[in-house]
Amino acid sequence: MAKVEKKRALNEETLRDFLRGMLLIRRFEEHVEERFRAGDLPGFLHVAIGQEAVAVGVCQAMEEGDVFASTHRAHGHTLARGTPPKAVMAELYGKIEGCSRGYGGSMHLYDLERGNFGANAVIGGGLPHVTGAGLAFKLRDEPRVALAFFGDGATNIGTFHESLNLAQLWKTKTVFVCENNHWAESTPGWQHSPVWDDMSKRALAFDMRSIKVDGQDVEAVFEAAHEALEFARSGEGPVFLDVETYRMHGHFIGDPQVYRTKEDREEAADNDPITRLRERLALGDDEFKAFDDQANQIVEEALEFAQNGTDPQPEDALKNVYA
C-alpha cells in the first residue's frame, strides 16, 4: 500500500478550477435538496455533499477516452466529469434535454460522450462492467482506463469480490474508487464490515495494489487518482483507491438521520473539503464569494433550463427498449 504524500505539484489556478468544480457540486446539490423538498422533483435522490473533493479530484485526473461507472450518489461524479449542469438538472426533472433523455433520472445519469457508463442504483452493479471494459481496453491495446466509484457499503456485495478478483487475475485496465464515507445507508461501517476503517485490506486479499488517500483533500485525491490511473493505463494491473471521506447529509434527501449522533455529524461538518481548499488557497471572504456566486448562477441557470425543459411524450416510454 502506498501512502500518497502531498506533492503540492498543482498550481494555484488548477486548484481554483477544482474549487469551482466542488462549489458547483455543492450548490447544485443544495438546490436539488431544496427543489425536492418543495415537491418539484420526482423520484429518489441522494446528494454528495461532503464528497465533492473525491468527484473532482478523481474526474480531473481521468483522460479523454476513459470511462467510468457511478453510483446512486452520482450528481457529483457526473458534473465533475464535465456533463453540463443543465443536462444533469434536466434529467432530474425528467426532461428530454436531460443527460439520459428523461429515461434514467437521478440514479441513472449517463453521458456516453464523456465516458459515463451510467450511475447504477444497484450497489456494486457497475463493478463488473469496469472490469470488462478494462479487459476490452487491454485486449485492444488501447491507452484507456475504466473506473468505478462505489461506497464502503458495496465492499460486502458479491460483485465487488468477483470483480476485484477477476480484474487482478487478468490485470485489467481498471481503477476501483472506494468512497469510504463510513455509512451504508443508515448502517455505520463498524456494523457492516470487519475492515471498515481500512478498506485497503479488501484489496490486499486480492493482491491488488491499493492507494489510501484523504478524500477531503482534493489535491491529494487528484495525485492519488492520477497515479492509480497511470498504473492501470500501463497495463500492469488494476488499482484500488481507498478514499476516506464524509457524507455530510443523509443517505437520501429527507433522511432524518435518526441513526446518527450529533458528534458524528459535527465531525463530518468539520471536515468540509471546500473549507479545506479555501484555507489552502487562503481566499478572503470577497474572493470566495465571487466563486460562490458564480456557482450559484450556473446552478440557477440550470434550474431555469430544466424547469422550462420539454416533457417526453408518454409513448416515448416504449422507445429505446432495444437497439
Binding site: 441513472h108 449517463y110 463488473p128 462492467h129 471494459a133 481496453f137 437497439a323
Partner: protein, 322 residues
C-alpha cells in the same frame, strides 16, 4: 453436423471474422467446456480470446457487459442455466436496461450462452429450464433453438445483434445431428420455423419438445390426426404471426416445453393465440410442460415430472376429441 458442432462452428466463424468477438466462461479453454462445445477453440484462438474464468457468474456476465459497452462482442457461457440465477442481477438490472436508462446512448452487444435440461438425473440444481424468467424482461432477446442449423444461424445473429441475447441450449440436444448449409447462414431473431406441416392441430414446441413432438406427430398420424409443428426458435421477439397463422389454419393448438407448465413460456403463447385467433379455435389450447415440482433425482421420478412424447400425443388427441 451435430448441434454441439454447430454451436462451435458459429463461435469459431465469428471469432475468425472479427477480433472483437471473444468467449469466456468456466472451464471453456483447455477442457473445452463442460459440454465439450468449445473444444479446439483455445488451440485456434489462444487464451486471450478463449478465457477460462473463475467460478463467478456475476463477474462473467458483468465483465461481458462492460466489454460490450466498450465496443466488443463478447460471448459468455454460463455452464448450467441453474447458475444463470447467480448472474441475474447483471442480466436483468444491467444488460437489459443500460440502453433504456441511457435514453438510447449505450448498447450492449452481449451474448450469453447457457444450457440446461433434464433427462440425465442430475437432481434439482443442474437441469432446470428457466427461459420464462428471461422472456419476461424487456430489453433482452431470448432464443432457444432446437436444430443444429438453427443454433448455428441464431448464435451468429445473436453475436452481431446490438442487444443482449440469451441463447438457451439443451444438454440432450448436443449430439443431435442435422443438415446444415455449407456456408453459415444467419437466421434472423424472431422468425419461427415450420418443422412439419399438418392440418388438424398445431403443436408449438421449443427445445427438446420439438423432437418429442415430432415423435408424437408420427404416432398421431397413424391415428389419422394431421399435426403441424412450429418451433418459434426465438422466444423474444416472438413470431406471433407465424403461430397465429398456423392456428387459424388448424383451429387447434398445443404448446409444449420442458419447463414447468405453470407461468411457463407456453402460457404466454396460449394468451396470444386466444386473443389473436379466438374465433378460429375449436378446442381449448392444451399446455404440455413439467409438473410443478423441483426435478427429482431418482430417474423414475425425474421422468414422471418432465413431459414425454406420450404427453404431447395425449394433448394432441384431447384437442381433436379423441
Amino acid at each position: 453436423m451435430t448441434y454441439r458442432e454447430a454451436v462451435r462452428d458459429a463461435l469459431g466463424s465469428a471469432m475468425r471474422k472479427d477480433e472483437d468477438v471473444f468467449i469466456m466462461g468456466e472451464d471453456i479453454a483447455e477442457m473445452g467446456g463442460s459440454m465439450a462445445v468449445t473444444q479446439g477453440l483455445l488451440e485456434e484462438f489462444g487464451p486471450e480470446r478463449v478465457r477460462n474464468t473463475p467460478i463467478s457468474e456475476m463477474a462473467i456476465v458483468g465483465a461481458g457487459i462492460g466489454a460490450a459497452m466498450a465496443g466488443m462482442r463478447p460471448v459468455v457461457e454460463i455452464m448450467y442455466e441453474d447458475f444463470l440465477t447467480l448472474s441475474l442481477e447483471q442480466i436483468v438490472n444491467q444488460a437489459a436496461k443500460h440502453r433504456y436508462m441511457s435514453g438510447g446512448q449505450l448498447k450492449v452487444p452481449l451474448t450469453v450462452r447457457t444450457q440446461g435440461g433434464a433427462g440425465w438425473s442430475p437432481g434439482a440444481q443442474h437441469a432446470q429450464q428457466l427461459e420464462a424468467w428471461l422472456v419476461h424482461v424487456p430489453g433482452l432477446k431470448v432464443a432457444y433453438p432446437s436444430m443444429p442449423e438453427d443454433v448455428r444461424g441464431l448464435l451468429w445473429t445473436a453475436i452481431y445483434d446490438d442487444n443482449p441475447v440469451i441463447l438457451f441450449e439443451h444438454r440432450l440436444l448436443y449430439p443431435v445431428k442435422g443438415q446444415v448449409p455449407e456456408e453459415l447462414e444467419p437466421i434472423p431473431l424472431g422468425k419461427a420455423r415450420t418443422i412439419r406441416e399438418g392440418t388438424d392441430v398445431t403443436v408449438i414446441a421449443i427445445g427438446p419438445l420439438v423432437h418429442r413432438a415430432v415423435g408424437a406427430a408420427k404416432q398421431a398420424e397413424e391415428e389419422g390426426i394431421s399435426v403441424e409443428i412450429i418451433d418459434p426458435r426465438t422466444l423474444q421477439p416472438l413470431d406471433e404471426d407465424a403461430l397465429v397463422a398456423s392456428v387459424k389454419k388448424t383451429n387447434r393448438a398445443v404448446v409444449a416445453h420442458e419447463a414447468v407448465t405453470r407461468m411457463g413460456f407456453g402460457a404466454e403463447v396460449a394468451a396470444v393465440l386466444q386473443y389473436k385467433a379466438f374465433d378460429y379455435l375449436d378446442a381449448p389450447i392444451e399446455r404440455v410442460g413439467a409438473k410443478f415440482a423441483p426435478l427429482a433425482f431418482a430417474p423414475v421420478m425425474e421422468q414422471f415430472i418432465i413431459p414425454q412424447p406420450e404427453d404431447v400425443l395425449a394433448a394432441i388427441k384431447r384437442t381433436v376429441g379423441k
